[in-house]
């Protein structure tokens, strides 16, 4: 029972709403424009990089936690934050290494779990 008592329910609600809103933007782009999913993905990541680089995205992260870090814009934000910290630590070269270092956990997890999924799952017909 201790687990449920330590949960910040207000934070859960905020994460749910902000994460959902980001996804709604994606859904509107799919329905109302001719953008392919790959382009929407790139738009989300670059938007996150720009907002992260300008220091705006961190307010959204402070407000909504994982609601802001889990969507693709959060990945862009991590890249920007990492690049800035990389420059502070290693100088110019850090602009290139910092972003990927900061996002390394996400990237390696995506490759690892993608591989596991490919081993155990078989592609199937779409239902719709």
């Amino acid at each position: 029972m201790g687990f449920f008592q330590t949960l910040d329910y207000m934070m859960l609600l905020k994460a749910f709403i902000v994460g959902g809103l980001i996804c709604i933007i994606g859904q509107i782009l799919i329905d109302k424009t001719k953008l392919t999913s790959a382009r929407i993905l790139v738009i989300f990541v670059t938007t996150g990089v720009i907002l992260g680089g300008l220091g705006i995205y961190k307010y959204l992260v402070d407000f909504a936690g994982s609601g802001a870090t889990v969507p693709l814009t959060g990945f862009g934000n991590a890249l920007a934050k990492g690049a800035i910290e990389g420059v502070k630590q290693y100088g110019f070269i850090g602009a290139f290494t910092g972003g990927v270092t900061a996002a390394a956990g996400g990237i390696a997890a995506a490759v690892f779990f993608g591989y596991i999924a490919a081993l155990i799952a078989k592609p199937k017909m779409k239902k719709q």
């Binding site: 799919i30 329905d31 001719k34 392919t36 592609p123 199937k124 017909m125 779409k126 239902k127 719709q128």
Partner: protein
Amino acid sequence: MNRIGNQTIKFNNPPTILETASIVGPKEANGPLSKYFDKCLEDEFWGENSWEKAESKMIKEASNLAISKSNLPISDINFCLAGDLLNQCISSNFGLREINIPFFGIFGACSTFAESLCLGSILVESNAANNVLCSVSSHFCSAEKQFRFPLELGNQRPQSAQWTVTGSGCAIISKTGQGPYITHITPGKIIDMGIKDSNNMGAAMAPAALDTLITHFKDTGRNPSYYDGIFTGDLGYVGKEILTELALSKGYNIKSNYNDCGVLIFDKDAQDTHSGGSGCACAATVFSGYIFNQLKEKKYKKILLIATGALTNSTTAQQGESIPGIAHAVSIEI
């Protein structure tokens, strides 16, 4: 045979469509035309380990089925005309590599079935052949993979998108027989109106269908009411509406007797197929299954099949090229 008008060929000894065969996948089997197909599969892999192999198996088995239904020994089939949507027509090439009949691989995208009927009837009428086998196939999964996105990506489909029919349709055209007869063919021109959206093939192909339709009427002196049914291959709901309006604006009212194979094959609401069916197998299975049955039962006496094709590939789409369309018309009467 002789050419009449601009681009129509009239057959003096009209070739017979001796027999047809159709095999469809599970989604088509759940559609409204289910009972007309020869074989309905329960699994889109059909026991194979890839969709390409499954598609090859479909065209192979459907071709064999058409031959066995016709009661002709295989040595009496003089030529095979076959095609599909995959690069280098691998479904037909691999599926029919053991069939042992002189083989022409043809490509007209989703219009391939009508193209094969056109060429096959010319072969028969010209005495080059007594019997010709026409086979085509398509598979939703292999087509999505090649033309759009891998299925593993789980992309959403827009409302204008069509659903590639999984299946194979075959017909045997013969010099002698009791009909239905192929009396006229109107091979179409490539028409490109600049549509670029590969999720809206119906709009890209409708102008080509219109051009062939009007040319057919002008060349033969017929009008829409001459036919009991006019069937386009795979314009879907979007393209069907565009063609009906375009034809009306040119003075041809086809509202009462026109339908589209892509509209007929699926139940739009229950099956969530958006704008309807598409693919080589769309016109081929609907013709081989439903329309041929209706001709045999004399429910239709004169029909015009206009299979439509979008002559595009994934490279041209990525390079921002528009989608040229084509449509071939085959007039079939009993």
